[in-house]
Amino acid sequence: MSKILIRGAKVLGGEPQDVLIDGSTIAEVGVGLSDEGAEVVEAAGKVLLPGLVDLHTHLREPGREDSETVLTGTRAAASGGYTAVFAMANTFPVADTAGVVEQVYRLGQEHGYCDVQPIGAVTVGLEGRKLAELGAMHESAAGVTVFSDDGKCVDDAVIMRRALEYVKAFGGVVAQHAQEPRLTEGAQMNEGIVSAELGLGGWPAVAEESIIARDVLLAEHVGSRVHICHLSTAGSVEIVRWAKSRGIDVTAEVTPHHLLLTDELVRTYNPVYKVNPPLRTERDVLALREALADGTIDIVATDHAPHPHEDKDCEWAAAAMGMVGLETALSVVQETMVDTGLLTWAGVAERMSVKPAEIGQATGHGRPVSAGEPANLTLVDTEYRGDVDPAGFASRSRNTPYEGRELPGRVTHTWLRGKATLVDGKLT
């Protein structure tokens, strides 16, 4: 079927319109379009968004295929309404050479559920000592433009400075996992009232904020742009706000879980709530929502971090850090940002598709829903409410903090360049 007519969808949450897909592109957008020769998708009441783009996903392949593969991860992405994901470099082997990034890129293309854009490591082996061959990764078939040691912080100020400078040559960006390593030795959760009671090693906000402060100043000094991964504290928001007001070229992301969950949940000692950076306080959550609404934080990124059951079914200290997020991200954003009146659906499209595509230079993604554009689209039933059931996840892992929690919204259809990857909530 080459033509698809999406009938009566609220495009970016606006007035109902019909959208006609012909082949891989959007042919026409308007009211009362003819359905002749087209498969019709009735979309009355649903919201149509540009396909979501995740700048921060862990696909685990190569090396940890027991937790996720490019196939299962991109199926999870399509389920969650994504048409492009950026795959983090902390695989085994690390994605610090052209060979590894090309492999990941090709797997994504072969499976066809979602474009996979590999992120290259900043330093060899994520060890923070020696720059990886950033240029070679950029020039490879994968065309890497985003570099990150995520999972680890590029804590050496000189290495960070050089990386920021070096990627300017080809318009790349360094995405920093802001975590001062000495301040977070043995860290298990946010340092504060709850950690004091539970006797778990503290991960202080200042360990994130001090690195962000340093890096925005470095970016200013060398005239580079810098991206801050998973910003999690109210203090970090203030630093980024200040940096933007000075004209520093900084962008920042927040994860869905940091918009919803707090460190109070750690009282259960259930490692499903163990994540890095850790869940913070109510005050941080509210500051992050406000910052995402006013544009201080540019985008939502999932930090989808799959782990096998045994790595979470244990005592807190022994458990792995991270949560899966691709399949719940949009629901959490609806719950925390849309249903609270902080963001419109157009604002959601901006922060979950347009801006992340722009930061990562994902060609053909994050485009307007208009004629001539690539047909990367996501249709959302925003009236739906239901309990999260991890058994239904497409991801190979189930480490979600939302099991049994009622969340709004459900992605019913996803199209990648006109090809449906999700139909009526089912993967094709």
Partner: protein, 325 residues
């Protein structure tokens, strides 16, 4: 109703007083020719120790044996645990053997809570110290020692520690004993002051039901009991304090400082003591120091806890925090 003892914060005032009163009766068993009761005959208790702690383990073991329970000791060293077996697998293996209760010591904060609430096992869980979180039976035996010394063996029955001023000195940050004591002593109506260098007090302590001071000398004169915590020498390498000498000078308890305490006041220590560091030999060996009594009282307290949790068809101690699934 709760079948477990995980945190001193879970105990109500009445629960705590009931445990202390029961321990007084248990203590009398030690004076009999036959120091044994048939109460837990046919019940199997495993002492599951992932951390070395000979004194806590033998204290529990003595208590279990005096109540006629069958005791299995399991230490992680040299066992399958050191070969990578998980806490869950270990616990399930023990449960398959028909264990009624697990007394667990673990280096990870929250491990006993996890064991009690994860659905891995059905046995009752008693926390014998987890990471830097809690050590509830230690807090109970400390409270028992204070009540005996400050109120009296018989006069103390049915009483809490209302109005008693307790000072806890040392490495609060890394101390499960301090956390448990703050919770329990507050529940029992005592006024607690923590004294430590600021580096050894956790961020977030401001919400604890106690005072915090950095000055030992100014608190001594108004203390009914001073509890010294062990300070590990290795802390100095992580810059928590400059030198052992400086720590002792500012926060150590010596004869001169002890003389500033009221005449009735006692000196406590959970053991093992680092003599010369947090406490001088003169203080440790004085009549006011209750270290040896604390050990004896530990057996009575643990007998009381075991009886109240396992002696019937359901526990006599009610808990508020943990909800059973």
């Amino acid at each position: 109703m709760q079948r477990h003892l995980i945190s001193a914060a879970d105990l109500t005032r009445d629960d705590a007083v009931l445990i202390l009163d029961t321990a007084e009766e248990m203590a009398r068993v030690a004076d009999r020719p036959i120091k044994k009761l048939p109460t837990l005959r046919g019940r199997t208790i495993v002492n599951l120790f992932f951390e070395d702690s000979t004194r806590t383990r033998i204290s529990f073991e003595a208590a279990e044996k005096r109540l006629s329970a069958d005791v299995i000791n399991f230490t992680a060293k040299g066992s399958s645990v050191s070969k990578g077996e998980s806490l869950k697998d270990t616990a399930q293996t023990l449960e398959a053997m028909g264990v009624d209760a697990v007394v667990i010591r673990h280096g990870a904060s929250g491990a006993p809570y996890r064991l009690a609430t994860s659905g891995w096992i059905d046995a009752a869980v008693i926390n014998a110290g987890d990471g830097t979180h809690q050590h509830p039976t230690q807090a109970l035996l400390d409270a028992f020692t204070m009540r005996r010394r400050l109120i009296g063996r018989d006069a103390g029955l049915g009483q809490d520690l209302s109005g008693k001023r307790i000072t806890i000195v040392g490495d609060v940050l890394h101390s499960r004993v301090a956390r448990s004591n703050v919770d329990l002593l507050h529940t029992l109506g005592a006024e607690v002051t923590l004294v430590a260098p600021p580096t050894l007090v956790p961020v977030g302590v401001e919400t604890w039901p106690c005072e915090v001071s950095y000055d030992l000398d100014s608190t001594l004169a108004k203390s009914d009991a001073v509890m010294m915590l062990r300070v590990q020498r290795e802390r100095m390498n992580a810059a928590f304090f400059p030198t052992e000498r400086e720590y002792s000078r500012r926060y150590g308890l010596d004869g001169e400082r002890m003389a500033k305490m009221p005449e009735h006041a006692i000196v406590m220590h959970p053991g093992p003591m680092v003599r010369g560091m947090e406490i001088t030999a003169e203080v440790a060996d004085s009549d006011r120091c209750t270290v040896v009594e604390q050990v004896a009282n530990g057996v009575s307290i643990r007998m009381a806890v075991l009886y109240l949790l396992l002696g019937g068809n359901e526990p006599a101690v009610s808990h508020t925090r943990i909800e059973e699934k």
